[in-house]
């Protein structure tokens, strides 16, 4: 007979509230408006888009004024990607049409969560005309659970 280890109450709380906090943070980021730039990190948040097909997740990120060799795509966990790229030159607020703030930006940076299980280790990255394109194959088990046996 298998012995099921009971989790202690504090462990349960940690897990439960950990998940809750994570979900709340995601909701807060989606709902509450905030600037698309961060002066502390000298970073601007780029525009991005994501498409989930039957076989893969395709993500694009608009990275103007950046150099391909500085583009970094880093999986933070099995569902989250961090993307950053250094700018070709520093951009001041006034160049963006803002004269009442001071500061400069040196990179584009964002992180994004993939909505389905994927194989991060099989990720393929391409960069054309300042657009970063990331292809990540979906996990087969998950696709089978969803009944997606054919590719579209």
């Amino acid at each position: 007979m298998a012995i099921r280890k009971r989790r202690s109450f504090p462990d349960f709380l940690d897990t439960y509230f950990g998940d809750f906090e994570e979900e709340f943070e995601r909701w807060r980021e989606a709902v509450i408006e905030k600037p698309s730039w961060n002066l502390k990190t000298c970073a601007i948040q780029p525009l991005s888009d994501m498409k989930v097909t039957a076989t893969e997740v395709i993500m694009t990120v608009d990275l103007p004024l950046t150099q391909e060799k500085t583009v970094e795509v880093k999986p933070l966990d099995d569902r989250t990607l961090e993307i950053s790229a250094e700018m070709k030159r520093k951009i001041q607020f006034k160049e963006l049409g803002i004269t009442h703030r001071k500061g400069e930006f040196r990179k584009l940076h964002c992180h994004t969560r993939v909505p389905v299980p994927v194989q991060m280790n099989k990720m393929h990255v391409d960069f054309k005309k300042g657009i970063l394109e990331i292809h990540i194959p979906r996990k087969k088990e998950q696709r089978q659970k969803e009944g997606l046996s054919r590719d579209f």
Partner: protein, 247 residues
Amino acid sequence: MSEIKIIEKTQVPSGALMLFGFPDVGLVGVIAASHLIEELNLEEVAYLDSSLLPPIIVLHDGVPHSSIRIFGNDKILLAVSEMPISANIIYQVMDALLDWGKSKKVKMMVSLSGIPIEDRQDATELKVFAAASSPDVLKTIQGKNMEALMEGYMVGPQAIMLMRCAQSGLPAVTLMAQCFLNYPDPEAAGEVLKGLDTLTGIKVDIAKLLEKGEEIRLKARDVMQRTQEEMSKMKKGQEYDLPVYVS
């Protein structure tokens, strides 16, 4: 009292060509309109005032301006919005602008816009399509070797402009350059301006536009983001739908 007023700042010419550059896919219309204003030194001749608009003003050179303005010279009137227009008020705003244009006896209306394509970053050549308000205008387009948009759906301010002009018999064209859906696309704006030249003979140098392309993409992110939200409320995705032909 009308809910929307168009306030004229200077004498507005009659018989001009009226252009529209509103936030839409790839911000093609807005980017093209900004470039036209700069290259042709167009002056602000009128602006739209309404309590239907969100409480937003745009500060330029230290003074407030409406987010929907009309620029012009003796030949052109160009209506441009720096903010996406909410789906809830788009009909009222467009009707006010179209009625105002008709009161100025404009000879033709042209909307500058985009048509999104998949894998835009792989495209080496961007096509420009034109949609006409009448069979006569369609002939004019085809006579200039422009590719006419013959079937499909159109969503947004340019759709209202085309339909209203078709109803009133005022010649109108919507020019659409292939573009990114969700990213600002200065290259597509350049192509739509080439299309405008072919259609109307209005020439502008697009070299500066292409040169500043990356800066424009960086600056226009926030407007693009808000435009996406409004496009989604307008069911912009319907432009991808396959039409059901009812004969």
